[in-house]
Symmetry: C2
Subunit: 201 residues, 2 copies
Amino acid sequence: MFTTPRTRGVRHGVKGQARREEIVRAAIEVIAERGYRGASLAAVAEKVGLTQQGLLHYFPSKEDLLIGVLQLRDHWDAGDRDYVTDPATMAGLEGLVEANANRPAIIRTFSALLGESVTEEHPAADYFRHRYASVREAMIATLRQEWGDRLPSGLTPEDAAPLVIAIMDGLQFQWLHEPETFDMPAAFRAFVRLLDPKAVE
Amino acid sequence: MFTTPRTRGVRHGVKGQARREEIVRAAIEVIAERGYRGASLAAVAEKVGLTQQGLLHYFPSKEDLLIGVLQLRDHWDAGDRDYVTDPATMAGLEGLVEANANRPAIIRTFSALLGESVTEEHPAADYFRHRYASVREAMIATLRQEWGDRLPSGLTPEDAAPLVIAIMDGLQFQWLHEPETFDMPAAFRAFVRLLDPKAVE
DNA sequence: CCACCGTTACCGAGCGATCGGTAGGTCTTG
DNA sequence: CAAGACCTACCGATCGCTCGGTAACGGTGG
């Protein structure tokens, strides 16, 4: 799954690959708790029963570990979305938001990373810039497929796509701050109703 | 302006107050560059021509400095919004977003803080939770004043308020990642058009 | 089958830098 | 002359990372 399965000159076999993914999952958890800057390699290592130096064997630097985290997310995005109905439709998007509401750790991780990434020279800044570009593209296609060149409100898919993304990002922050009382899926459905008032039944 | 103008037992006079605000402004800049965790007291101190220990004279701990930053924002929110038309209307909100598009440093600071604040035990977590609560209240009042108990789309002000806030937060992240090409005010206006399609002229 | 050997998978020790914070001083100012 | 406004000196902790190992694993030739 990792495009370049080599670190520090050492190539990792299948077993090493599994270990790497285990480490990345631990890193995701630690970043959810402390953010990227606050996440120490030692804390990640401890979660998988390694010393910090042992971890460095798999990811030669902290930034490389972050890249691993980002790549794993890309991998998820690209492949297995069995847990959610096809997101390339509006109903699919609602399902995605609903699924997200059950994965607070991952959402927390990437919300924290998104926040950090606006600071200068953050190693994830490029990732999010490119991600926004590609996600907007995909969203435009989804909207066009759903409604054609004009949404019921009169907006073009190009106009609406950034709004859908902004809503999803923004709702996550409100939800993360009040996970028990804030109904993120319901709020998102309300937004979809905004996009197409006639769809109310 | 600061509710408790005493630190470490020392009370600060008017001159000290001015120095404190100067320090807070410097802190806002540094946080915009490195985030809260990445912001070092030494970096903030240097910006105002102090040593790190000299800064500690005004703010006895890093967290106290953060509180100062948060209080200054509250102070701004409460008072002088001469730079923007009354935000308690939809047109006012559009003006606010436009104004924000001209203050990248502050927006960057608070977007970074918002992101960090979703991590565990972050000192700004409570601030954002309470802020969301009060901002939502204010937004509900604004929406109700503008449209009454039902928006043109059929949504209640209670349903729509979190969406407006999410849009504002979410658009900021997209804008911060592409300040030159992403037209945040235009995107927000598109959203307002979503809220009231008839208002298109 | 087994001896050999390179690769993989780690760990102990430690380094230099930086961090937030303390203790205690000196100069200045009202 | 007290209090405010600093600074020097320092501390313990933590950070990412390097160096230099050792031990297990796995393919390969005899």
